[in-house]
Amino acid sequence: MKGMREIRNRIKAIKSTGQITHAMELVASSKMKRAQQSAEAGHPYAALLMDITDMAAECVAEESRMDTSRYFSNPECGRRLIIVISTDKGLCGPLNSNLFRKISELGDECDFIAVGKRAERFLARSGRNVVNAMRISDKVEFSETRRIAKFASKLAAEGKVGTIEVLYSMYINTLKQEPTLVKLAPVDNLDWFINRMRKMYKLKTEPRPEESRRINFEPSAAEIFSKLPAYYFTQALHQLALDAKASEQSARRVAMKAASDNADALVDSLTLDYNKARQAAITTEIQELAAAAAVSDEQL
């Protein structure tokens, strides 16, 4: 009888765990939707930013365009700044460990900004040089990614780092996320940013408001152009953060789905065991009764 009670307790425990993982699965999918909405909200901004770039670019010579896009670089400095975007919580499958494997492949000349508790913990444990630890909430507010961007570009402007790179889990599809290292600065020109934005928002060249007169630039087209890379940089980092969040939520969804399925399967097999044990107990009882009856018959 003891075996039966044990099995019953286990079934109960597994069922309640299954309920929790199922709830987490649902939460992850709704959070993923929120991240997608946040990404879509950036559409008009991306379109306007590109339009302003086009307008300014028409009036700026090719060579000076190249110069201004290089504004982050500091070729003498060999140090790389890596922004690692991880998750705050676990239970998302091998997402973080894949990311951290990539960190181990990087050389010693790297400084890190840890985004998310997991990265912070890993980098501290592996004795890497962490310059700052930051957080991004599930909503991925622009103000949050902007703080990271400001901090990173400040380091670059002071000449403390030569490049700014982002290590994050790229969202490929629900089942596949890949750790990816992306270089945000320095870049040769803005094309990379523009193409990325085009792809993400499927932007078409939108018709500008009708205007036949010549456009005035204030203070000058070159100056307007020189300030643009900073906007692209922040925008790109925000997109990457959104992408990382989408990866996290879909990885968690898949992991939790697998856990719920496992729980169901386990409950099924345990129920079978339980029934077998119950049947065995009944059989033993009958046998004992029968034997006892036979013995008492003999005695009479």
Partner: protein, 141 residues
């Protein structure tokens, strides 16, 4: 004829109206006012207050650095952050500022981290803008 004004931030369109009579912008070269029929212009904006005049009432927003494009009576303002004056909570702003100062004090002991410095500057800037705007509003009434 009225101006169509939209203030675009990465978090979406912060404010939009197609009935604006006059728009005052904190341009890099000084404050400018745009009326319908203004020459097409693309300008850099400083952080400051933007005032959209609709009839008798003025609607003001605190905006961060950005760009403004005026073409054919459509003014598009691109900025990374915009806050409507009504939404500015001065108490909150003051609280943030004090918090930032406290944080800064703590961080001073670890000279390599200066993220709080940025935050402090930002919140002070935001606060001063809020103050300026509310003062300006009070004067109007």
């Amino acid at each position: 004829m009225a101006l169509t004004v939209e203030i675009v931030t990465p978090a979406g369109i912060a404010w939009k109206s197609d009935k604006v009579d006059a728009l005052t912008l904190p341009a890099a070269s000084g404050e400018i006012q745009i009326l319908p029929g203004h020459v097409p212009i693309l300008t850099i904006l400083n952080a400051g207050s933007l005032i959209a005049q609709i009839g008798e009432s003025g609607n003001s927003l605190a905006i961060d650095e950005g760009y403004a494009r005026c073409m054919g009576d459509v003014v598009s303002v691109l900025t990374e952050a915009a806050i409507n004056v009504e939404e500015i909570d001065e108490e909150q702003a003051e609280k943030t500022r004090i918090e930032a100062l406290k944080e800064l004090d703590k961080i001073r002991r670890q000279p390599h981290v200066d993220d709080a410095e940025i935050e402090r500057l930002e919140s002070i800037a935001r606060f001063s803008i809020a103050q300026k705007l509310t003062k300006a509003k009070k004067r109007q009434h």
